[in-house]
Symmetry: D3
Subunit: 333 residues, 6 copies
């Protein structure tokens, strides 16, 4: 059984090929993903035992979501089956001055309508050392909000570390709602990733080029307010839909560690944030020092953004090599 547990929703992502606009698409590439499933697949690929908890419909798309995880080595034995449909998101990949666009069609999905009886949390967490969830999961429905709290509580009760990637999505819930829920859930959280407006922070912190000094100040305040063991955030400089700067900042209450900055020509930025969470958890779980962990997480998520699809298919060796500083892209023979 997995010693790291993650829980969330998996969706089909439909994406027009070749930078076509939605209006031009005669076909859509399809990927299976979702925040926590990306974390799970990263950890499994890096060699850690990890289990993913969700609910998926009894149809070929539910099957595919599961087998795409199994393929990566994720334990899927706690996934519940049933419900009406799998959530869908349409993704139009932007380029240059044309931004990417996302259209959600995920209401009434199997997981959004899942209930506590679908999961045996005692069994799921019987051997857990770590639990990870994103702020998307409680945002899906009242029911998944309760599931999130229940899972966090159970995780804490068995002594597991709890990490949460805030990841506020205004299409899922209004900020007022998020602010009523997320701060309360923070009481269970040890590792806070990408704190955002759902914790009450000001929106202008997240506009334009990230300002490291203001981030440090904000991390300090959050540490005081919530007592997190670690706080970490990615630093994305969006120069265009094709080219981004990428770094990260982490804090353990005493030191701030900032990762090397990568200039990324994006192939598929989807899953970049979740890959950061996956990398950070890998680093902390395997006992890296914070500065190494944040470098590992930044390198891992930089690589993800040069790989098509939701999952981060970079290998441990690939990440280590990039961490070691080789960004020249020379051919590896």
């Amino acid at each position: 059984m997995g010693e790291i547990v993650t829980m969330g929703e998996m969706m089909m992502r439909f994406m027009p090929p070749d930078y076509l606009k939605f209006e031009q698409a005669k076909s859509f590439e399809v990927y299976y993903g979702g925040d926590e499933s990306i974390v799970a697949s990263s950890l499994a690929r890096f060699g850690l035992p990890v289990s993913y908890v969700t609910k998926l419909p009894q149809n070929p798309f539910g099957e595919m979501a599961i087998s795409s995880l199994r393929m990566q080595g994720v334990d899927t034995s706690f996934i519940a089956r049933g419900g009406k449909r799998i959530g869908v998101n349409f993704y139009e990949k932007g380029i240059s001055v044309r931004p990417s666009k996302v259209i959600y069609d995920r209401e009434d999905s199997a997981f959004a309508t899942a209930v506590q009886e679908d999961f045996d949390f005692d069994a799921i967490f019987s051997d857990a050392k770590w639990f990870h969830v994103s702020g998307i999961t409680p945002a899906l429905s009242e029911s998944t909000c309760r599931l999130t709290e229940k899972a966090m509580k159970t995780a804490k009760s068995v002594g597991a570390t709890v990490s949460c990637d805030l990841n506020y999505r205004n299409k899922l819930w209004p900020v007022e709602k998020a602010r009523a829920v997320m701060p309360r859930l923070m009481e269970y959280v040890d590792v806070c990733i990408n704190p955002d407006i759902s914790l009450g922070l000001s929106a202008d912190l997240f506009r334009g080029e990230p300002d490291v000094e203001r981030y440090q100040e904000m991390f300090g305040q959050l540490k005081k307010q919530f007592g997190f063991q670690y706080i970490a955030a990615t630093l994305r400089s969006s120069r265009s839909a094709s080219d981004n700067g990428w770094s990260a900042l982490a804090y353990d209450g005493s030191r701030f560690c900032q990762a090397r900055r990568y200039e990324i020509h994006l192939l598929d930025r989807g899953g970049g944030g979740a890959s950061f969470s996956g990398g950070l958890i890998y680093g902390l779980y395997t006992g890296m020092a914070l500065e190494q962990a944040v470098e590992f997480a930044a390198a891992s998520s930089a690589l993800k953004q040069t790989i098509n699809g939701d999952f981060n298919l970079a290998s441990l060796e690939d990440v280590m090599q990039l961490c070691a500083g080789d960004t020249t892209g020379r051919v590896q023979r």
Copy 2:
């Protein structure tokens, strides 16, 4: 404004390419279609003025559905915009002994949740000579059931001919429900196409190879019961998912006319039935004798099944040529 009016739901159809199974699909071809929109596009391509009534969401997929109709020359000016989503169906094309499979994800679509206030029926029908609808439309929701009746009534009130393709779908409503509704709607119907169990007929009439004698007997009974002007049905012999026989039978109360039988190597059987309706309406609307009209309808729908996608892109000339008896497939230089 169009003199033929049709009303129904348009969906996105997602289909794996190259006869792949759902589980194998890394991409899906996408088509926009739906029973009555296929009828509308056929009629527009054949040169008749036709308007299509539906409701579609304010997003690129709604746009595409509309522009795919406009491309064929259908009047789209009465299409309402709004609602949550466009209906979706997943279609796995079968081959040989492996049947095709359809998975619906069409609940809560814009049209299924449309209401009377979305449409100005007086304007829509102000110049109408013909109204066509399928049994799928009332099956979608209570609301579309009321819309169907309202449209039929309005059509009759302006003296338009009303045609209905029964097209019972058990995934949309139980047979008891359909039998409570469809016979009642038949009072407005002049041209009854593909009568089925929703009119109370026995299911075994439609199993296996169609039995023309039993169909004739059934047509006779329906004529008596409902007083239709014309009754017509397609006769499909499913030898495998790849090869079908195809013919049709029509009745005007005095004569039975059976169309030539085609042996079709199927490219995409989707839309075959609706293309038959389109062909039959074209024939009757332009004043063909019933035997010509049913031949035209059969040829038209046979050709459809050799064309990819929902819409019947055969031209009037193509259909006429096949009607004239040339099935040798010799190259036309």
Copy 3:
């Protein structure tokens, strides 16, 4: 009927996929386009009533050209049918230090051989407020040269504004010929777009990086010489076949307005110039101030160059958003 009229030739564009050279292509993507048809489709997409005038052959390629316009909402009712063939151009998309290449095969096309009797100019212009044409149209043949003058005259006679994008193409006619024709046509023109050597200007103005000061001086001289109401030109900095700077300059006789400069990673630069014309006409037609109009036109045509195909499929909302200054390419959820 459309209140904006455009006239020109539509061609099939054959383009090897994936940056292949002509010699490598086992298949060609096909697009339908042509300068004025791009202007027409832009205006229709932005919501203005627009009609496109041309002649196309009675074959499926003529049909496709028409339905591609109808799809975008352009009025195609004045398009004549007949003639031998549709014009073709082969387009090899360059990358980095490898330039794009165009091979024309457009001689004897339906439109190039069209005559005045193919069009009822009185009907076409009965409701016209604006007429747009490019310098390509008179360059095609003696006959289209006469058609252009006739159309301009008719437009003026009904009080319509006339715009012309000079767009000199040396493969279509020698510069001497162009200089004998274009200045004469300028007498009908109110809005002069992209003035070039066909008006007698020196070729070295258009070599290398555009020099805004020299452009301003040139605009001043043209104003004096031809009395245009507005003069506008795009400013393209070709750093490579993949990366261009993009801006624009406009002049109303008193003020010079220069648009924001975009750094574009090109997806398909084809149609950039025509999209600028479309954007400028939209701005002026809807009453924007010149500085807004030129910003709108520059943003609109910048976006076009990140979209595959000839037509500018950017929506009004997309253009407005880029005009508002967001070039970060952040995901729009």
Copy 4:
């Protein structure tokens, strides 16, 4: 230098993929071919020295036509370069009851406008043992008609065998014109392939299922009239656009030899006729008895119709194996 000489026009063939109709095609597959070039490539692949004579434009498409021949081992050193364009044909592959369609756009091609000065016939035929041409070549233009006669004369003057595949195309010239030319050219011909209405035969001989008895009678008359050494024709039974019967009949003035009949599920029937000519020439040139030669030709051309593109890529070994009677399609490991 090649000992077998062929002459004709090469075209680009544009074909929609996946049985799409012209109207649906977003891309076209491209093949280079043309009757005599198919003969040439067949002979080169079977190992005979063969040269192909044509004229092609100085552009990448001319290059590609040539390199596609060179790839197969055809001697291209006598191909003239220049002229305006390469001829084009659009090919819509039919299926089942939907026939294939061809649209020519080949006027004013480089070869159609070629003149005698483009070719040094003395050099071309200095080492020739056989010359082959189809009836398409003289049909292209007055000029190619003269070239054909000149080539035939030169071939006869060096003692070469002359074969001609009649291949009448009514889109290229009216039957009266063909009948004024082709019988006259027959005086140079030793091997007459696929005699047709251009020799004055009745059109109804070629309608519907081929009638072997009437073919034999016709062969007898032609033998008397023109004194051919051999007469041969393919026998195609067009059951549909997907399934054809295929056989052939040959005659040497004393015996009629009929090849085995193949039932072919067509992949691409284009080039079937020319592959028959190629196979027949191979057989006769290498000294096979007529019954073997016609079997070889029939097998060779049957295989062609299961191969995509114009050229017959079957190997000598493939043809021999089919000739030997194995039509079971068992996997060859």
Copy 5:
């Protein structure tokens, strides 16, 4: 751990798309498969616990082979890693009169050079109830021949049933070699599938249309000679590379059971034989009567041949439905 164990080699299969010949292929589709892995994946998909034993290189292709199995639910924990390369086979899919062709490039593969120390047979078989292997495995090398015998012995020692699909491949070893090995291995075998010339049978039994009477006689002799519990064979009628008849015969020493005959329009016949083995093992393992088991195996393998790739992706429900007799290919909505 799996209760059914299979062992063999997995290869990459490279296949030109769209029925292209090897010479035409600009790209190859790639599938991972191999006889016993197909059996394993079938059983896992049908819900049985199954483990697959092989050796694969430490590279991405080895990874992919493993994850393709894990995706289907096969236990891959006993797969050894190392060696030089993964075996490759090139597969040209035939059509109609053109046969499929296979080119092996599998020498020196990781599994062919594996040794006993790579596997812990005691652990592998500790919980085994069934062991399956094909005749390909001992044919690969002296080493795999020893591995096969060792595995069979270990299986028998724990009381597992042993099945073997003979599957003689003359490109792997000469028939004399096979006849020196395979009969000796039969002493461990309970279920003999597709007996062939490697057991000393005459080659002409397997030429042309299978003769059921001669098969029955042959089964009787094998029963006597080797004492098998069950003998079964598929009956393939190769009418062409596209269309095959398909049935099967099984024998338990007292009764002969012949499965329904399917007429299959082949999509991909690869893996048909192994799917039969998979189906038969499923039937016998789950306690079906022999007539049911052979029907299940025949239906299962018929479906496989309508599915692209090596693995049989038909679901248990799909097979059951076909077994129940519905071969009409009607759409399943």
Copy 6:
């Protein structure tokens, strides 16, 4: 017969499309190439007579390798046939911070196992003016090492110029081995291209940004040590897997000539080095001054890296145009 002779191994290159990782590839694009074959094809395309010597298996992949050369105009008449297999390399194209990866599967290839008897060196070199080989050829096997020396000797004996591109590959042989062989072979070499560690140079010369001064110093030493007529090397600045700087340095014993520096957005960097050799040989062979030759070589190889596949399909005209200084990528109409 060719006056320039090259010798080496051709491989199939399998490359995932669309920047997919090996693990994601459902298909592989295939290219035929190999260092010296790229040189040969470049020279043939530029119009020089060139012959390529290798050994290839008697199968369709050997055929394709040969016809891909014949297509470009290379003389293939000295290519030996036979052996077990064609060498394969798998190439994962990197992007941005993700490097490209190469996996070789080329052991026991036909050429690696070729012997002297496969080639008639006297005939091959009877008319030779130039011989080119890379350091990969002797690295393949003991046998090809002897073949290389034999070829160099024969070339010198007929007075041909000998060029060698060192191109050390540590996956083919250890540096000690290379250093025992390559310096010895240098005695036959006139033109030394890309000297590397196999000549005893320090590895750190080739790490990071190339240092022109140190290169000049190194060239001077090599000149003294080996007496080369010319020494040349490419200067690649790897900023990322997508963007490289590119220049070159040449030396004739008195002057150092450095080519213009190109900033290349890479489409396919494979074959860049060999294209440089091809360009340099073209320049020197046709009598360009060294500064022109190195500019030609740099421009030629810069263009290659914007073209997919192994061969440099840039035309002489394309290279000349880039040499002339136009790097703006403006459309060539």
